[in-house]
């Protein structure tokens, strides 16, 4: 573990903190995914992992590799942008698909009644 010993102690502890935070949030998100009772509630759980869960781990990685000086930090920015932009699209399409399926089966969830129109 030679590259870990090259880090200054303060930076190493900071990285450890960020990675621990990100991991705990991601794990909590998947625990919620398993435990929550309905689909629409489960839709919220993975966003824990994709917002600050991913951000914590990526910030840790960014700190580590820019301190070691082996490369620029811009890699993680792209990965973070990718996650930030694709997750909402996935979740929106999934939510709409679920609502559409529920309506098609005549089990409209309470609170979503309204003009019955085909989704675009």
């Amino acid at each position: 573990m030679s590259h870990l010993e090259q880090l200054p102690p303060v930076v190493a502890l900071l990285i450890a903190g960020f990675v621990a935070l990100g991991t705990i949030l991601t794990l909590l998100g998947t625990i919620g995914l398993v435990r929550l009772p309905s689909f629409y509630e489960r839709l919220h759980a993975p966003t824990l992992g994709t917002s600050w869960g991913a951000a914590g781990i990526l910030i840790g990685s960014m700190l580590m590799f820019s301190t070691l000086g082996s490369r620029l930090v811009i890699h993680e920015v792209f990965l973070g942008l990718l996650i930030m932009l694709t997750t909402p699209v996935t979740m929106m399409v999934l939510g709409r698909a679920a609502l559409h399926r529920d309506r098609a089966e005549g089990r409209t969830p309470p609170g979503t009644e309204g003009p019955e129109q085909p989704l675009k």
Binding site: L4, G53, L79, T90
Partner: protein, 93 residues
């Protein structure tokens, strides 16, 4: 000292991320409906991507980045295609 702590944190983080991955797979296997399975698969992709990043940090290599990027793009395309299929019954109209 701090290097030992960081190394331990990275190892524990890898274990936790594998646990998260297993939980996501559990949801994908259990269902009960198709949209739950797709959501589980999407979460699995994100966990695998983060696991790659943490593994790269532990080994001090930069080669995980391309892998993580490809995994993110593949996960996005796969999940969106499956969700589209659930909504319409076909992927390309």
């Amino acid at each position: 000292m701090s290097a030992t702590i960081l190394s331990a944190v990275l190892t524990v983080s890898q274990i936790c991320l594998v646990a998260a991955l297993v939980l996501a797979v559990m949801r994908a296997l259990r269902g009960p409906r198709a949209q739950d399975r797709v959501l589980g698969l999407d979460t699995m992709y994100v966990c695998a991507m983060l696991l790659l990043v943490v593994t790269g940090m532990q080994h001090g290599t930069i080669y995980q980045f391309e892998g993580a990027l490809v995994m993110g793009v593949l996960g996005f395309v796969a999940t969106t295609a499956m969700a589209k299929f659930l909504m319409r019954g076909e992927v390309i109209e």
